[in-house]
């Protein structure tokens, strides 16, 4: 096989470069450096949430919040209209001489359905936008990665990042004081 082709073939098999850190601070500093360097397609893997990490590795604003806002409005409107339709249109009933459209009684249902629909959207939207369910993920090909759920902190710069370069990115990561830098196969 032609050397250049083999190179291209290997890049195609490469998911990204994984750097292992033994402290949360080390990982956070590395992620911030990587962001400053211009990398965008990266992810961090840690045993517990770390403040500031999401901002450092995220692509930008998530769409979940917009989805939740719209869902909340729809839920509130839907809940209100459901009550209105039942008491005014479908089953008009005189309760103690009150008008059919007795809106104060609708408020609890309106609020509850707003919260319900917004929460369901937040949960399902978050999972779907994260690409869940995902039975296979390349990072598990690295043996050391199992400690991501125990006591180690990982930063993975993915090969699909436009700035990714097998050698230069490895050098960059090694400059961030990791324990080790590993290649992740697809």
């Amino acid at each position: 096989m032609h050397p250049q082709n083999r190179d291209a073939g290997e890049i195609a098999d490469l998911y990204g470069l994984l750097a292992e850190f033994d402290t949360a601070e080390g990982l956070l500093a590395a992620a911030e450096r990587a962001r400053e360097e211009g990398f965008r397609r990266m992810d961090a893997y840690t045993p517990m949430p770390i403040e500031g990490l999401a901002e450092a590795v995220a692509l930008g604003k998530t769409t979940v919040e917009k989805l939740v806002f719209v869902a909340g409005l729809l839920g509130a409107t839907g809940g209100f209209m459901l009550c209105w339709w039942m008491t005014v249109v479908a089953y008009p009933h005189n309760v103690a001489g009150r008008p059919l459209n007795s809106w104060p009684a609708y408020i609890p249902i309106t609020f509850e359905s707003m919260v319900l629909i917004a929460c369901l959207t937040a949960l399902i939207g978050m999972l779907m936008l994260n690409g869940m369910p995902q039975p296979y993920h390349p990072v598990f090909n690295v043996k050391e990665f199992e400690r991501a759920s125990i006591d180690r902190f990982f930063l993975c710069i993915e090969a699909r990042d436009p700035r990714f370069d097998r050698e230069a990115t490895r050098e960059f990561l090694e400059g961030l004081n990791p324990l080790e830098v590993m290649e992740v196969e697809k």
Partner: protein, 393 residues
Amino acid sequence: MTAADPVDTQLGQWQRWALMAGIAGVLLAIAGYLLNGWTQFLRSYLFAFLFWTGMGLGCLAILLLHHTVGGKWGMMIRRMCEAGARMVPLMLVLFIPVLVSLPVLYSWDRPEALHDPIIQGKAAYLNAPFMIARTVLYFLVWGFYAWRLSRWSGEQDRTGDASLIGKMRGASAPGLVLFTFVTTFAFFDWIMALEPHWFSTVYGAMFLIGQVLESFAFTIALVIVLGTREPFSRYLTKQHLHDLGNMMFAFMVLWAYLSFSQFLIIWAGNLPDENPWYLRRFRGGWGWVALTIVVFNFATPFVLLLMRGVKRNAQRLLAVCCLMLVIRIVDVYWIVEPSFYEQKLVVHWLDFVMPVAVGGLWLAGFFWQLRSRPLLPLRDERLQGAPRETVAF
């Protein structure tokens, strides 16, 4: 703390300004008494007294809650809550004008109440000696917890003893129950009894949560204003503001929930012994005040505080706190003042003077108390918690 400390100098300046405003307010209030009489004086005074005493009670409630459940959010505002809580027992002095003229405000203490069968049915509870005794008891309970927790906190400053955290928690958990019980009755006695025919069991909790809300707004605003200076600048993070904003949001929704549930139950029942309270507060112009409260104490902060960008930005959060403080005064006014008038919106100029008079004195005392201790509990090990210990994303 040395005299050259710039934060202390600043707080001292605020203390002097508050005292001057308070004294000016008191002089104006005395002029108001001479011009308009004792009745109007007391009507305006009661509402201002309740707003500012409530500020201290809200601080005590936050303090008890924080010691019970822990959490990093409370470390920034703890010293302010302690200072506010220590102001509560002093407010008993300011309640004396009300206690010596109960018949002026409370119709159950007037001669005509003797011919009112409903009030006569409550006479075993609603009588002047018992009311005064209860009031003293409330202040004793509040004063005890303010004193006890402040003392332990001061001991922590000197010794750094880690077992004090457990002691404060042990006292605060039952204290929170006792506090809520006692404060509920205080608001029954001081405000609900203004309309002695009417009753609502959720009333005490509703008013108390409103006071906690104003205390959150006040202490968060103070943290933000002092946030760029020592010692806050060394510890204050965006995450603290986010957590405090969330707490304010939670109490705001709880306040709305309690207020609305009282309204919904009375509206659904629509019985003549229950609905006059709302008729007084919806008719003759008061309805617009009620609508303003719904819009600015619930709807507006609800939308604003949902946004991360507001809670994590000091200046925006400060603006929400200021809005909250202003609308809290309006809400206390709307709850207290309609009791005195038959479905007619009446605003007297003393209603503007009194919050300044009482507030000036309260704030002067508050800053005096705040300056007596370091502004952060520096030897509480939880202050130093690493950022990664906070999980609220």
